[in-house]
């Protein structure tokens, strides 16, 4: 058994450090931990990726199934995002249906992908009103040391970039798989950046210990062209109007960094496959 002394993180101490621009793990306020992005990590999935932010470890698998469209969008495929806070990831996670944190995370990632227009749902239609592709994006939290939102959003986007759909032909009433696959057409690359507010300071990529001290946080998802496509304030604190605008500007900048890292990782992966 590990020696789990609950290190009582001293709020005053952390605030003092932050006021000097320092973090408990030595990082600057607006620096991420070492990030690694891996693709095709789950062979039975149609697309998959894992992301590590330091010890935080998230895996995402995409499964494509043929199903019926929703009645009010007969010409569109369906994107479904689900998050499991698997109990092996944290002593605080329990087996059972997703709790409110897992539901919030899944819904925010979902809004980012949907409003960031990662996939054109119309391209997922096979027979209007009858058969469409349903893309299940399953987020699997495997180790939790803070900032699950950004890691989950990044891993979800990476898994979609790595997704290959079976090619199908429509013959009469039947849908026949040709045995070929084609990569999903990715339209935009929205990146989630969560800003934590502790005292008056903003930090990115908080550790779990830092999250427990945070007043509140704002997740900002920005598109490739620097627009905002989704926001989510969480925790019980407040922001001033100025805070919000400051946070957005940081998020656009940091989003670019993460997006570049995603592109270079994907390129490395693609060339290693070729």
């Amino acid at each position: 058994m590990k020696n789990k002394i609950p290190v009582s993180i001293n709020r005053e101490h952390v605030l003092k450090l932050l006021s000097k621009g320092m973090r408990i793990d030595g990082r600057d306020l607006l620096n991420y931990r070492p990030i690694s992005i891996n693709f095709e990590v789950a062979g039975k999935a149609d697309g998959s990726a894992s992301v590590r932010f330091g010890d935080t470890y998230v895996m995402v698998g995409v499964k494509a199934e043929i199903g019926k469209p929703f009645p009010d969008t007969p010409g569109e495929g369906v994107l479904l995002v689900n998050a499991e806070f698997v109990p092996l990831a944290s002593p605080d996670f329990e087996p059972g249906p997703p709790n409110e944190d897992a539901i919030e995370l899944a819904r925010v990632v979902d809004r980012g992908l949907r409003k960031g227009e990662v996939v054109d749902l119309k391209e997922l239609c096979i027979v209007p009103g009858e058969k469409v592709w349903m893309l299940w994006v399953d987020i699997y939290i495997l180790d939790h040391n803070g900032n699950l939102m950004d890691a989950a959003a990044l891993a979800s986007l990476a898994a979609l970039m790595n997704t290959k759909l079976p090619e199908v032909k429509v013959e009469g009433e039947e849908i026949i798989k040709t045995g070929k696959f084609k990569p999903l057409n990715i339209k935009d690359y929205p990146i989630a950046v969560t800003l934590g507010k502790i005292g008056g300071s903003f930090i990115v990529d908080p550790l779990l210990d830092e999250e427990q001290l945070m007043d509140c946080r704002l997740t900002v998802i920005t598109t490739k062209s620097g627009n905002i496509c989704a926001l989510q304030k969480s925790f019980s604190g407040t922001f001033s109007q100025g805070d919000v605008l400051k946070a957005l500007n940081i998020a656009v900048e940091k989003g670019k960094e993460l997006r570049d890292l995603l592109f270079s990782s994907f390129e490395k992966f693609s060339s290693s496959k070729a």
């Binding site: 304030k233 407040t238 001033s240």
Partner: protein, 250 residues
């Protein structure tokens, strides 16, 4: 439904005839339920919501209690008949998320530390949903908390802004929410000038966002006046009753 829906007409007016910065009519009634410790009804356009507060009261199971403050619990729930297609009464993922963000919007305004080891329950029941239910829910819940006599640093007011047909507008109705481009729900503490709920759904430039945020906050400030008037109406009346009772006892 697939037809192009025009949300802003040639005069710049919206589907219900409002200008971009115009709220729907808002009506708030205080103390509308007998059993609840505090309650409020809000009617905003056709959106109709009841909020009720129970507490501070004992919490079960006890291990959920906190030694230094009250636990705030919140349930946002939609009546099965409140929407176009009947909604199953089992809580949806959307309701679970909104319960969380509403709770987090109210929490910074409440002096929870005054009631250690207890809980305060806030129930928000949407009876008719015509857009903006989470914001109206915050507005009503905050009045119900005041009606329950829970000490607060400030009222909390909710109001959304958004973008429809390319125009940034305030207080979206259902059809604008559904066919418009962006929804930005905001909750605001008017005296403190602080934002306690902020979400967004759809693409905005930085400039558009700033405009939307300003519109939403202006909306909150206007609705705040309605909150205050509603509370005053009830408590003036109560004061009056009390004074008369005192007099008659003399």
């Amino acid at each position: 439904m697939d037809e192009e829906i025009k949300l802003i007409d040639e005069n710049g007016l919206r589907v219900d005839g409002r200008r971009f910065d115009e709220l729907r009519p808002v009506r708030i009634e205080v103390g509308v339920l007998k059993n609840a410790d505090g309650s409020a009804l809000i009617v905003q356009g056709r959106t109709k919501i009841l909020a009720a507060v129970y507490g501070p009261r004992e919490i079960h199971p006890k291990h959920l209690s906190k030694p230094d403050r009250a636990v705030l619990r919140c349930r946002y729930h939609m009546a099965p008949f409140s929407v176009e297609d009947r909604k199953s009464p089992a809580p949806s993922r959307r309701e679970t998320e909104l319960s969380k963000v509403i709770r987090e919007a109210l929490e910074p305004a409440i002096l929870l530390e005054k009631f250690p080891r207890t809980c305060i329950d806030v129930f928000v029941e949407v009876l008719e949903a015509d857009g903006g239910t989470r914001c109206a829910g915050v507005t009503a819940a905050s009045v119900a908390l005041a009606d329950a006599g829970i000490p607060m640093k400030d009222l909390v007011v909710g109001c959304a802004a958004g973008k429809v047909d390319g125009v940034v507008v305030v207080d979206l109705c259902d059809i604008e929410d559904k066919y418009g481009e962006v929804d930005v729900p905001v909750a605001y503490m008017p005296n403190k000038g602080l934002i306690s709920l902020l979400q967004m759904d759809g693409i905005l430039t930085m400039e558009e966002f700033e405009k939307a945020l300003n519109l939403a906050i202006d909306g909150c400030k206007k609705i705040y006046e309605v909150q205050k008037a509603a509370l005053k109406r009830k408590y003036d009346f109560t004061e009056k009753l009390k004074r008369e009772a005192d007099k008659s006892e003399e």
